[in-house]
């Protein structure tokens, strides 16, 4: 028998468990802290508004991550109507990056989210594919290209060996 959580229960569960996750995803996909805070709050408003029943915590977490990424996308589009900012942080190529977080943030959207979800949250490529709506192989290639870009940008890189 599957027990669903929804509404207020889902909200308070998510608030205790996933606030930092939502905030981290938001920070990866927006230009500054205040945008990230706005998005985090908005994501929780969406959670309050939805009537969707969640199977378990993981289902809820994946849903929150997806919503957060979409909200960030809207936010970034709004903040630059004329030209879409594909990278939240602009870097001149060849410039030395000392901040590993900034380096990840400078990756294209799909790469950076795949890198975050894999290396920090520990999701597999298949699970990331479900969250980001892509095929497993596509996610694997995002991760590979993300690693390649990071190896160029950073003294070190993310290789798994």
């Amino acid at each position: 028998m599957t027990i669903f959580i929804k509404g207020k229960d889902a909200f308070s569960f998510a608030f205790k468990q996933f606030t930092d996750t939502v905030y981290r995803v938001a920070l990866h996909n927006t230009a500054n802290f205040s945008d990230a805070e706005d998005v985090t709050q908005e994501a929780f408003i969406r959670l309050l508004e939805t009537n969707k029943p969640f199977r378990d915590g993981e289902h809820l977490k994946a849903w929150l991550i997806r919503v957060t990424i979409n909200l960030c996308r809207d936010k970034m589009k709004k903040s630059s109507r004329e030209t879409l900012v594909e990278n939240v942080v602009e870097y001149k190529s060849g410039e030395d990056k000392t901040d590993v977080l900034e380096a990840v943030k400078s990756l294209p959207e799909n790469y950076r989210n795949a890198v975050y979800l894999h290396y920090y949250e520990g999701y597999t490529a298949k699970e990331i594919g479900r969250i980001l709506d892509a095929k497993e192989n596509t996610v694997l290639s995002w991760l590979r290209r993300g690693r390649e870009a990071l190896r160029k940008e950073l003294d070190g890189g993310f290789d798994d060996e």
């Binding site: 805070e37 709050q41 977080l101 596509t138 290639s141």
Partner: protein, 326 residues
Amino acid sequence: MMNKNDYINAVDNITAPKELLEKIEALDLPEKKKRPVWKTVTAVAACFVAAVIAFSGIVGGSLRAESENMMPGNGYDMLADSDDKEMTNESQNVIVDTSSTATADRKIVKTASLSIKTKSYDVFLSAVGQKLEQYGGYIEQSQEYNYDNASNRSAEMRVKIPADKLEAFIEELAKVGTITSKVIGRDDITDSYIDVESRIKALETEEETLLGLLKKAESLSDVIELQQRLSAVRSDLESIKARKRSYDSMVAYSGVTLDIREVERVVEDDDSFLGEVKEKLMNNLYELGDFFRELAINLIAALPYIVIIGVVATAVIVIVKKVRRR
């Protein structure tokens, strides 16, 4: 040297600020209508029936087609949907009530933001263009992206559509693509609008008064002073009239943001039990198809090696046989 551990540490240090936590904790929506007890009972019963049917369908195999006909989703979702509809109807009634009791002509700015997935991207884009023409709308801004390959295109469009045609436009789009998210905004700007109108009236009265004074003015310094004030009033009037025009066009035309994504398959977000089973099954079939396609490609690509290995193997067999004969 920097590696993923540095990254993990850096992310570990990101935590939601205290003010943000307080804000989120304070979030609350107006208490929604409680679901009547009999509905919950029916929902649970429907869930149970659906689960039993689905289960026996999988085990027996024979009941499968029947169960899908009977239960397109599970009972829970169906009831939740009807509940939603009731609520929206109620809230719409409330809006109608206020507009009839207050000024007859409320100024409402309607906006919509749609995310759409489509398998036939080109067909969808041309349908958008065609519907815009039909309803007298236009494209305000349009950007297309093509990330990795041709089957992953996406577009972002901002279009304007006459406000009374908004619903019809969205319905037409739903026929050609799959709308995965829809946000409709209704912003009542009646107060600001009335404010602008009264400002215009006040400025026009002031302009008339100044003109009257100007006619009577005798000294040159009076004329200059009056002219200066007149031009200030006129420039104010112009800008406030421009704001009224922009309000008018916002009310007359709804802004619609379309986020269009090309996909190979549209996966319905169906969380019912059968929906999940169906989705997993479809996914596996799809991956199976993918597997065979790649197998075929790899086999063909490997032909040169296969030929060489074949030749070598035949040669070895022939030699071995000859050696044995001796």
